[in-house]
């Protein structure tokens, strides 16, 4: 349309710009007026504390969750279980409920035109909605962290065994826990951005609402089932929810942590940019936006797959990681270190002996399945022999056997196979009675991106 040369009367002015701050506040008011959002925030602030206290008091612990088997020993384990569970299941659900609904709710209510007339700037609406979504997410995440910590403190602030079984003081555990929560923000941003994109693409369709949850589930399943190279696995946002595990080894495994966080931020930036472009190109004269699968594939899935491939390529190029990231060398090294730490604990409890890791000179030898099977990759068929020098006995060497169940993300569970007096039985006799045998079963972690 061509503009006419008519001179406007002095009192007529162009519509005033509504600042992003005002639109943001408007969006926040709308979001916080929703009961489901209020309930979700309340759950985040109350639920973890109750869960940690209740579960820690149960006879059966969630030992399949990282740090779950330590929940009796220290409250910090409970706080970490909350983070593990949130990363695997709750964050994708949280972003579904909040981010994936923020644009589509206007489609369902038929309020786009009202909003556009009031604000007169689709760009500002997009920015404000994005910021309001982030704000609500940031009301939830600290709640989960603080609530989990409070629950843990109620259970008991005692030293926590890290993923190489070295003991962390409560202060160290608290510091690493807070750092781990900060690390989890990067993948959460990625899922939130996927939610925003789904919300823009699918409009009124409920598919958009479920997409972040399905994406999270799909990534988890793909990570566990598909034989992916480590670089490809690390480039998935779902991996970054677990990569904080590397903080709990000494030295910390920062490679996977940083790579996962950077890849997640790349996902977040791409998905947000795509959502912005699609939103700015939308024709608001049509009320009905039920989304289209074709557009979801071309404007959503394919570009994000591109980010995944590109991130994986960069990770592989920078780290040199090509295979699964799990091999006998890494497992042997990790298992030997963990065993030494725990043997020291056991010696103190049972024999009141103060031995050092240096005296033990522990080593391990691991094999996977039969000789016909490739000696790398995840699986529950890893069998390891651990050797150590018996302190105080000249040239005497001890030997213990472990079965290792190694997950694709590098975490493993070492299950002691004997001898009984070392790691074959779940309790040990101490001067103050029977106590859990620290060498019987424990968690460990290998760095997928490290080279042996």
């Amino acid at each position: 349309m061509t503009a006419t040369a008519t001179t406007a009367p002095a009192e007529v002015v162009a519509a005033p710009t509504v600042s992003v701050r005002r639109v943001y506040r408007f969006e926040l008011v709308k979001l916080l007026a929703l009961w489901r959002i209020r309930i979700l925030i309340a759950l985040c602030w109350i639920g973890p504390a109750i869960t940690v206290i209740v579960v820690s008091g149960q006879g059966t612990l969630p030992s399949d969750t990282l740090f779950g088997r330590e929940m009796h020993a220290t409250g910090w384990a409970g706080a970490l279980v909350v983070l593990s569970f949130a990363g695997s299941w709750f964050f994708p659900l949280l972003t579904s409920v909040i981010a994936a609904d923020v644009f589509s709710s206007e489609d369902r209510l038929g309020t786009w035109r009202h909003l556009l007339v009031a604000v007169r700037s689709p760009r500002r609406i997009f920015i404000a909605k994005t910021l309001a979504t982030l704000s609500v997410l940031l009301m939830c995440v600290p709640g989960l962290a603080v609530s989990g910590i409070i629950g843990g403190l109620v259970v008991g602030s005692r030293p926590l065994a890290g993923l190489d079984s070295h003991l962390l003081s409560p202060a160290d555990a608290a510091g690493k826990l807070l750092l781990a929560w900060l690390c989890a923000l990067a993948p959460m941003l990625a899922f939130a951005a996927i939610g925003l994109l789904a919300s823009v693409i699918f409009g009124r369709s409920p598919i958009g609402l479920l997409l972040p949850a399905f994406a999270g589930l799909g990534m988890q399943l793909a990570s566990q089932v598909l034989p992916m190279p480590a670089a490809v696995r690390v480039a998935l946002p779902s991996f970054a929810f677990l990569s904080w595990n590397g903080l709990f080894t000494s030295p910390p495994q920062l490679g996977s942590l940083i790579a996962g966080a950077v890849a997640s931020l790349a996902w977040a930036a791409t998905a947000t940019a795509l959502a912005y472009l699609l939103f700015m190109r939308r024709d608001f004269t049509s009320l009905a936006n039920d989304g289209s699968i074709r557009r979801a594939i071309t404007a959503g899935i394919l570009p994000l797959l591109g980010v995944w491939v590109l991130s994986a390529g960069v990770v592989a190029a920078v780290t040199g990681a090509t295979g699964s990231g799990i091999d006998a060398g890494k497992l042997q090294q990790s298992l030997a270190v963990s065993f030494a730490h725990l043997y020291r604990v056991q010696s103190q409890e049972v024999y009141h002996l103060n031995v050092t890791e240096a005296q033990l000179r522990t080593s391990a030898h691991c094999t996977k399945g039969s000789a016909l099977v490739a000696q790398d990759g995840p699986g529950n068929d890893w069998r390891c022999y651990v050797y150590w020098h018996l302190p105080g006995v000249n040239n005497a060497t001890g030997q213990a056997v472990y079965q290792l169940d190694v997950s694709a993300n590098g975490r493993y569970v070492a299950d002691g196979d004997g001898p009984n007096q070392v790691n074959g039985y779940f309790v040990v006799h101490t001067s103050y009675g029977d106590a859990p045998n620290p060498l019987w079963e424990f968690d460990g972690l290998v760095d997928l991106l490290a080279t042996t």
């Binding site: 349309m1 061509t2 006419t4 008519t6 162009a14 009202h114 604000v119």
Partner: protein
Amino acid sequence: MLTEDIVSRSRTVRARGVTKCFGDVVALDGVDLDVAAGQIHGIVGPNGAGKTTLLGLLLGLAVGDGGTLEILGMPVGRALAAPDGVAGFVDGPGLYPSLTARGNLAALAALRGPGAPAMGIDEVLGQVGLTDVADDKVRGFSLGMRQRLGLAAALLTKPRLLVLDEPANGLDPAGKRHVHNTLARLAADGATVILSSHRMDDLAAMCSEVTILSAGRVVFSGPLNKLAGENRELDYLLRTSDTDAARLVAAETDGISVVDGAGTQPDPEVIVVRALVSGLDELVPRLVRADIAVRELTPVVSPLETAFLALTEEHERESSR
């Protein structure tokens, strides 16, 4: 001075050759429109005529593909924005069900900021008759209450041009009165109201001028009386003190034809005659002279509706040729 005033009045809305297409569909095809300040202007047309598209352009929800559009004297360019002082809604008011009526308006007022011209929330709620339910969640509102709250939201901004799509939808008689009075008061204060409706009686009651759209084109634009006064015969219900005698008088009057058969009318005291306005001018004195009291003389279908049907059907016939 007079010239300036005329120019100013012509500047509320001025559209020349406005065209808007959605793919292959031509929604507006060279639309011309002039709406003066202080006028309540009706937009009518069959479904798909382009009414909502035109209202959307006025609200700044879309931009035309061709032609020129001035709103409140400001040329509207390609950007999605109308000048300040334009408010309203199309396809129903945009309300948030989780907020109260007052909450919806408060959020909207906060959006505009303290410097913007605005009416008080209680004031606008009172104007549309929603004071009693101001603190109720909109989730439980009826369609009519939502329409009134949508109008209140538009009034909150002290609009100089109010654009409303089917504002009378779902309104009960009391609600309709509130809306009619509010719009009349607004127009009396110098604001312009442009509304669409399928209810011809509503438009006839409120509007001073109408524009009839058919298939994206303007087929009539002007004062209602001009439309009603077009040289077109209408059917009128005639109720008198003596039906049989009135029937005889009507049959003998030039320009009048009785269209109902005796006894076929549901109400035996009513006859239906077909006539031009000039024919009625002849009939009524003759009935009076024959000592027949005229108790009711009303069009069977409103002149606006008759004209609307005739014009749109005629345009559709021409388009299909």
